[in-house]
């Protein structure tokens, strides 16, 4: 006959500590390819990187803040740089403007008569456009890091 020892448990249940997976259960590894696709999607369409990870609040805020900066910047006739810049600052501005992804074309559509930086408004608009690009790149980087499981 089998006699049960009181010190040994009848059934071994997995112990879960602070939401960690039980021992022996493998957690899905964050995929590097998925993280890159999230980053690229977040760059192309502001907020999409977060939306792909069901971070709806962040997705909406990124979409609307970047969009607002682009629309207001272009409406103030800020300078939207192109690839054929004459100096390093133009190239740097182009890189910053490209940061908004597909919204670059939205800015082009809004700013039909070209830039006017002879007034302070146009100069502020240029800064708004560049800031929108850098902010979107920051958001895409944040989405990438979240997809890799580093932070959320």
């Amino acid at each position: 006959m089998n006699q049960h020892n009181d010190e040994t448990p009848l059934l071994e249940l997995p112990v879960v500590i602070d939401g960690a997976p039980p021992q022996g259960v493998r957690q899905a590894e964050p995929s590097e390819a998925k993280a890159w696709s999230v980053a690229i999607a977040g760059w192309l369409v502001p907020g999409l990187g977060h939306a792909m990870q069901r971070m709806w609040g962040r997705a909406l805020v990124v979409f609307f803040t970047v969009g607002l900066l682009v629309v207001v910047g272009a409406s103030m006739r800020g300078n939207l740089f192109t690839s054929n810049g004459s100096d390093a600052f133009d190239t740097l501005g182009y890189v910053a403007d490209l940061g908004v992804g597909s919204f670059y074309f939205l800015a082009r559509a809004v700013e039909r008569t070209g830039a006017d930086v002879s007034h302070a408004g146009g100069d502020y608009g240029t800064r708004f456009l560049a800031t929108a690009g850098v902010l979107n790149l920051l958001a895409a980087l944040h989405a990438y890091e979240a997809a890799r499981g580093r932070k959320a």
Binding site: V61, V62, T65, V72, M76, V110, R112, Y124, T131
Partner: protein
Amino acid sequence: MTAMLLVTLTHWQAFLFFAAVISVAFGFLGRRQPKDRVKYILWSFFLFLVVGIGIAWAMYPFSR
């Protein structure tokens, strides 16, 4: 469609707009909990104003 949206903001309005929009984005990206976000947004907005006005006053002697 040839209609074009034109926006004219004063220096102060542009300053406030910029500070508000960036503060909201920073708050949502930097914090998870709603209470922490509100605190971060308000603090960031306050710092934008203080630093912006501080730099403006610091540049005043060199403006002419």
